[in-house]
Symmetry: C3
Subunit: 435 residues, 3 copies
Amino acid sequence: MSVDKRLHDRKFVRTFFTTPTADSEKDDTAAMLKKSIQLRGMEAPDVWVPDNEDATAPNMRDEGAENIAEVVAEHGDEFPGEIHPRVVWHRDSPETRYKGFQHMLEIADPENGAVENIDGFVIPEVGDLDDWKKADEFITIVENEHGLEEGSLAMSVIIESGTAELEMGRLRDEIGKPSNNLERLFLLVDGEVDYTKDMRAITPTGELPEWHELRHNTSRAASAAGLIAVDGPFDDIRDVAGYRERMTANQAVGQIGIWSLTPGQVVEANKAPLPPKEGYWLIDEDGEEVELEDEGDVQAYTGDKLSLEEDGDEYVLTVGSDEHVLSHEELQEKLVDLTAYVPSLDDIVDSMEEFEAAKEAGQGAIAMTRATTVSIDGVEVEISSDRMWDEATYQALQTPITLFQDVYENRPDQHDDLADIYGEDVVERAMEVGN
Amino acid sequence: MSVDKRLHDRKFVRTFFTTPTADSEKDDTAAMLKKSIQLRGMEAPDVWVPDNEDATAPNMRDEGAENIAEVVAEHGDEFPGEIHPRVVWHRDSPETRYKGFQHMLEIADPENGAVENIDGFVIPEVGDLDDWKKADEFITIVENEHGLEEGSLAMSVIIESGTAELEMGRLRDEIGKPSNNLERLFLLVDGEVDYTKDMRAITPTGELPEWHELRHNTSRAASAAGLIAVDGPFDDIRDVAGYRERMTANQAVGQIGIWSLTPGQVVEANKAPLPPKEGYWLIDEDGEEVELEDEGDVQAYTGDKLSLEEDGDEYVLTVGSDEHVLSHEELQEKLVDLTAYVPSLDDIVDSMEEFEAAKEAGQGAIAMTRATTVSIDGVEVEISSDRMWDEATYQALQTPITLFQDVYENRPDQHDDLADIYGEDVVERAMEVGN
Amino acid sequence: MSVDKRLHDRKFVRTFFTTPTADSEKDDTAAMLKKSIQLRGMEAPDVWVPDNEDATAPNMRDEGAENIAEVVAEHGDEFPGEIHPRVVWHRDSPETRYKGFQHMLEIADPENGAVENIDGFVIPEVGDLDDWKKADEFITIVENEHGLEEGSLAMSVIIESGTAELEMGRLRDEIGKPSNNLERLFLLVDGEVDYTKDMRAITPTGELPEWHELRHNTSRAASAAGLIAVDGPFDDIRDVAGYRERMTANQAVGQIGIWSLTPGQVVEANKAPLPPKEGYWLIDEDGEEVELEDEGDVQAYTGDKLSLEEDGDEYVLTVGSDEHVLSHEELQEKLVDLTAYVPSLDDIVDSMEEFEAAKEAGQGAIAMTRATTVSIDGVEVEISSDRMWDEATYQALQTPITLFQDVYENRPDQHDDLADIYGEDVVERAMEVGN
């Protein structure tokens, strides 16, 4: 089997939600774990990460490991997502690595009753692949000591050094070698704060750099090795718009998942990669894309950066301070250029079904037409554009549907939410298309 | 010989033009091939690709392979570009790979009379280098079976997976090993639609992501292994301005060639990397670069985002809504910053000749001066700036000339077009400079 | 010891200043070297590079090598930075490589009296790691011939080919192998002019492309191999604002050092990565960040792209042509989003001390509050925002302090300048924090 087939139950992970494992300020140090493990529906993440590393004070981590075992033993059966505790690790510290090993031994000890619901471990601060292999080996020993099947515990890593970024590119060569069990690899998670330290980057305000190349390279490594790419934490938890923008940018490089720090962020991140309930039109008003208002028959522009007047046979379209005098046909072309349509789940299913029917009938490529009437300053203009779909287009545009299907199959606790959002009928059709 | 010397006849490929090989809807299924192979001059591509993969329906591809052989046998001698058919291939499907091998055997069979004019094959959907080597081996067998010299058929690949993107970086280590013939590699072509699928990227409107890193990495791999980088198809064939913008961006990463879907796109892409006939000035009007109007003695700004007034000894320059009060010297500096000159072919030849003369006279570096008079709102200002040229500058700016010379030597059918554009005299000087 | 520990005296290099080694037009061909080696304080670079390659005419380079030895013998003891001459080298020319070897033998000959003050050599135009190893081997022979300790001469390389860019990523695997002395590697310096030639990139105006990926990859390779990343020359020496912008962008990818062509550029580049004397507030006025005016109690906006009015209980904030009607709380949130604070050295030391004290007291994470009053059109609004600091944040934001300490320890000649800029007291606290 090819190394780039995704081997785990989940083909997509939208959400990676961390919870401190032991808080010395609370009477019950496991209180936060107990709260998180009871999340359900859109508030419950695809992957829950009891965080026995950075989120928990160093002197509380032994207790944290015990808390994880205890809480998962009690509530793990009912938790709808996967559970992957993060343990301590550092490429430069054998002491830290040994500590992480001990915590894994503890958490996975069958006597503690949690291990059936522990899906794997998250290893931070990895260096080169030889370092990843040390963690893999410890997990193999944990499995062996506790009578678990070799390879049954997944391993996810946090990419937070230039070295780890480079080494991801070599995974294809290493996974499957007889002396490791790296097939257990699951998530590649970017950790931008530590990465910034490792790269010694400085910004005037102390804001994190963009690290676009890191995100590209993580997504690419996931693609080449059959893994799943997840972006790091978005610190400003009040900034919902910023979190959404970050996710849109991530999705465009194939990094569908993201870290969540609060249940509110989990809700946003669970929904973000799913297509909208209703499609809508965008128009580029002098460099910025804004939504047109759906007035039933027409899509109306209500801003003040574009204006349009009819002048005899001609039209005067003003964009910012640029005036364009255009014929009716030129105006239509210009508006086709300026507008774009964001399809709903329903629209995507329609297009896929249409293409499938055409393929059935022996056609290799068909034109998909998108038409509407745009209204600017009361002047209405019909526009229409075609896009050629062939097999490759079909497959490239199928990703949101594959994602939807993966979510639906793995998260029964979200069925009601999905039906509420999209309606039963659309959900049913989305589950059937493309199979 | 160093692996990064380009080993093929062409040092540059501007255009990669695909044509379906068999259309079941037409009486003569080879009609489109026959039309394409008769293109000449600016409408004829540097590399013509009879496309027996995605552009042709799966059940027509056996006939497509025969059509290629037949049409190239009849018209190949006169075709001015190279001919590299694309065959089927997939890293995950031995069935597809074997089909591709059979089509190559058929197309290159000397009994079909086409092989003297077949320059190589294009292999899509490659994975890691071991997969590339399978294709290389099949081509070696084709050569051996048909009595062709080993390595005489070129091989180009489509980079449309994260794996292939990563593996390109290892070509230097593999080309030249005794058990392969990877020296036959010619073009590295990005295939962004399938790449988007492989990376599982999602954009709200379904538009392709930018994939800037992919294009950088393809160009870099081409540089390191002596190959030629070509960008993938630009789907919106009516959008000439968009196609040009894409090519300008590609050229800035060293990806000079691009896929063309129509003869119209071929014309654009053949011309795009060549310097303009006439140089012209640009000015930055509040973030956007626009052309100044050449009024002979002055270069005039005719937009409305910049304004300039004389006020006693001072000048008031308004850029958007920012007002700058400047002395005459400060104004000159500001205008030097805001303007840029796009040199013509003639200008580039002049500068190179000037540097060559200086070098001859023992100078390592000289200042090249660029001066003009800019007019804004009727206020005229003389500006002048220097750029130091040393050997490195000279060589870096020589690329358009090397490209021009490669085109001129390999495409006699474009001599008339080039003379029409530039004039015989400039063409002649451009062919002599730098040698 | 891990390969990614920086092994050299300097952990940071801000400035890489080149000087021609022999000018045939001057009576004393070594005049420029003599001038440069006497620079002190902010005008003296961290690394001085007598440039016996591109900056010196080919027929003057034998004399250049002698000049270096002579000038360094005479003045090297007093020079406050490190001295790393650049010699000739080319991956494609054994003749050039042999010439470079001869020049290194000459410069490092103890009989010439310079070698105690020669810290290493800069090797341009390297190709793959096998080529780097040839240079390393020559330096080993130079050391052996001249009775120097093996590995005592550093080696820096110029990354100016796609091949070298790719190969940097493999340094971790090669440094430390028994048959090389690559531990001597020190700086990875981008050379964008030759890189542009090697990548065959074209821009309409002949300007250099951005090469963002190159800079990312150089910084990442430096991180993975314990080296220091330095950006290439900025040609337009009059454009101080442009040089600063470039440095800010470089710092955000971890490339703290930059080439300097003049003592004026050295001053700028020595100061650029150090925090400012006084902190200041920025506001985003419709896409562009501008500084607020510090009026003691309030930070005042003085531009004309933002306006603010009180209207009963509400506020009308206009950004460009967008009007927002906001409650007091919404206005505060909006202004928190639009503003950012650039901390001074003093501020950074304060925050670090505060975090250290909290850690001492057993806290893993604390909120750092930043508050001020913003005034727009005379309307004053108090704003306040928190940022959570944990160990990772602390370490990531420590880079400017580590840099400051490295500068202070290695550059006594800049102590007065630093005290002038920051005051003795702040300097002293900055030297103590974080240790």
